[in-house]
Amino acid sequence: MTTSFAAQVNSIMAALILLTAFGLLVQRRILGLLHLFAWQGLFLCLSTAIVGYVTGVHHLFISSILTLTLKVIVLPYILYALIEKLHIKKEIETLVNIPATMLIGIALVIFSYHLTAPITQLSTLVTRSTLAVALATVMLGLLMMVTRRHAVTQIIGFLALENGLFFAATSATYGMPMVVELGVALDILIAAFIFGIFFFHINTTFDSLDVEQMAKLKEED
């Protein structure tokens, strides 16, 4: 595999990650969201593996395998088990309607392209062009957390945001040091467990996972 061909394949992976990020933004069904999240993890894992192969930075393979186990298998499974246990099946309400969300998403992509353009010109890495996509994925994850009311969707948005950060690390500097990556992976796993506990508590207190309900906790003026 030549470097330029690898760069092309990596661009395709970046495009697919961006596509799944938008998919997460517009998907209404919660199971569909989980599938999309798993796909995003898979594309991220492939992209990391390709970059690791081309550049010879071998710890990227370890991060790739970590991504595969954590973000493609373990986390979606945990969330799936939670959804099954809490009987959340219905379509999710969004705060902003979906076409408007898409337009905001496009604006965010243009913004991140504009923001990373100077960095891209300075960089000499194979992966420099994907930095804009990585930043856009972070922003889209953030947008998803803002526009959704449901606790589970907000968590998926958070995890997608983390995917974007990981991708940014790979494209900007060929990955963070191994220790940091292991730490982040562990953090994500622990976070998933804590989310689970919180979901149960929110659900038993309010009989719903709609975070709007938490407004009730405010003291009366």
Binding site: S11, A15, L16, L18, L19, P99, I106, Y113, A132
Partner: protein, 314 residues
């Protein structure tokens, strides 16, 4: 411009006129097979057209000249579009008359007159169909334009023959932008040709119909021309997709062997495309009218992402 290239042009238009019903028949046959129904063979559309041509035209009392002239405009413009898209060879004298942007506008002319004719008689169905068609096309057209812009960015030209030339005979590169544009184009294709998630081509007299509602008052040769034009539209959209996204096999010059190979390759691609179309149609349920904004919004989103990823990633 020699007489020879005009011959090629004439051959292409004849091919369009006479292969389009067969393609429509092929799609129907595969669809029937897929859904376990008996099928009438791929030549049934020819028999339908022949039957309609032999029948008398019945005009409503208050039909104006718009109603009478629309079938001819629709048919004529469709044939003209067919003369512009490279089907088997890129050596087309007509191709210089219009690029892809003009092509989208030609489709808009067809739609404009069909919608006018739908409202002309004054029946409730016609007006409803026209209003739906206009709503949908106002959403589909930007997506279509963005998709072809993305493809023409890659080729550095909006001329179709130039795009085919660069894609088919240039250096092969993996382009994420074209993949996005292709997805968007498929969604627009389904919309524009009235396929299942948007409109159902096989229903007549159903409350959810769009294209059928507009042409409900037509009969005889008028109906035959419109039906023929809509079969050609299906053929044209499919071969436009082939020309822009998968042009390998279209002859670079006008030599006979190349064109024969081109015709064979086109037939094979169309056959595969028909099967894909049927798979999409059988796999999806018809969408609620108010969900169509999201469907076409996603098409626009994909096309825009394609254009952005051209700048970001390529």
């Amino acid at each position: 411009m020699t007489a020879y290239s005009y011959t090629i042009e004439a051959v292409q238009i004849l091919l369009l006129l006479f292969a389009a019903p067969a393609f429509a028949g092929w799609v129907r046959t595969v669809k029937c097979r897929m859904q376990g129904r008996t099928y009438a063979g791929i030549f049934q559309p020819y028999r339908d057209l022949a039957k309609l041509f032999s029948k008398d035209v019945i005009l409503a009392e208050n039909a104006s000249w718009i109603f009478r002239v629309t079938p001819y405009i629709v048919f004529g413009v469709t044939v003209m579009i067919g003369g512009i898209i490279p089907l088997i060879s890129i050596d087309l004298p007509f191709a210089a008359t219009a690029d892809v942007i003009a092509l989208v506008m030609l489709f808009a002319i067809i739609r404009f007159f069909t919608a006018l004719a739908g409202m002309d008689i004054g029946t409730a169905f016609g007006g409803m169909g026209s209003s739906r068609e206009m709503t949908i096309s106002s959403l589909a057209e930007p997506a279509m334009l963005m998709a072809v812009f993305t493809a023409s960015l890659a080729a550095n030209s909006t001329s179709l023959t130039q795009m085919v030339h660069v894609m088919a005979h240039g250096e092969f590169t993996l382009r994420p932008s074209l993949a996005f544009a292709l997805l968007a184009f498929i969604m627009v294709h389904l919309t524009e040709t009235g396929r299942v998630p948007v409109d159902n081509p096989s229903t007549h007299l159903e409350l959810t119909m769009i294209h059928e509602a507009m042409i409900l008052e037509y009969s005889g040769r008028h109906l035959a021309l419109i039906e023929w034009a809509s079969m050609m539209k299906l053929f044209i959209f499919s071969s436009l997709g082939i020309a822009v996204f998968c042009p390998w096999g279209i002859a670079a010059s006008g030599d006979l062997v190349g064109m024969l190979i081109g015709a064979g390759v086109l037939a094979a691609k169309l056959a595969v495309l028909g099967i894909i179309l049927v798979l999409i149609e059988t796999g999806l349920a018809k969408m609620r009218l108010f969900r169509l904004t999201e469907f076409l919004g996603s098409a626009f989103l994909l096309a825009t992402l394609g254009m952005l990823s051209f700048f970001i990633l390529e």
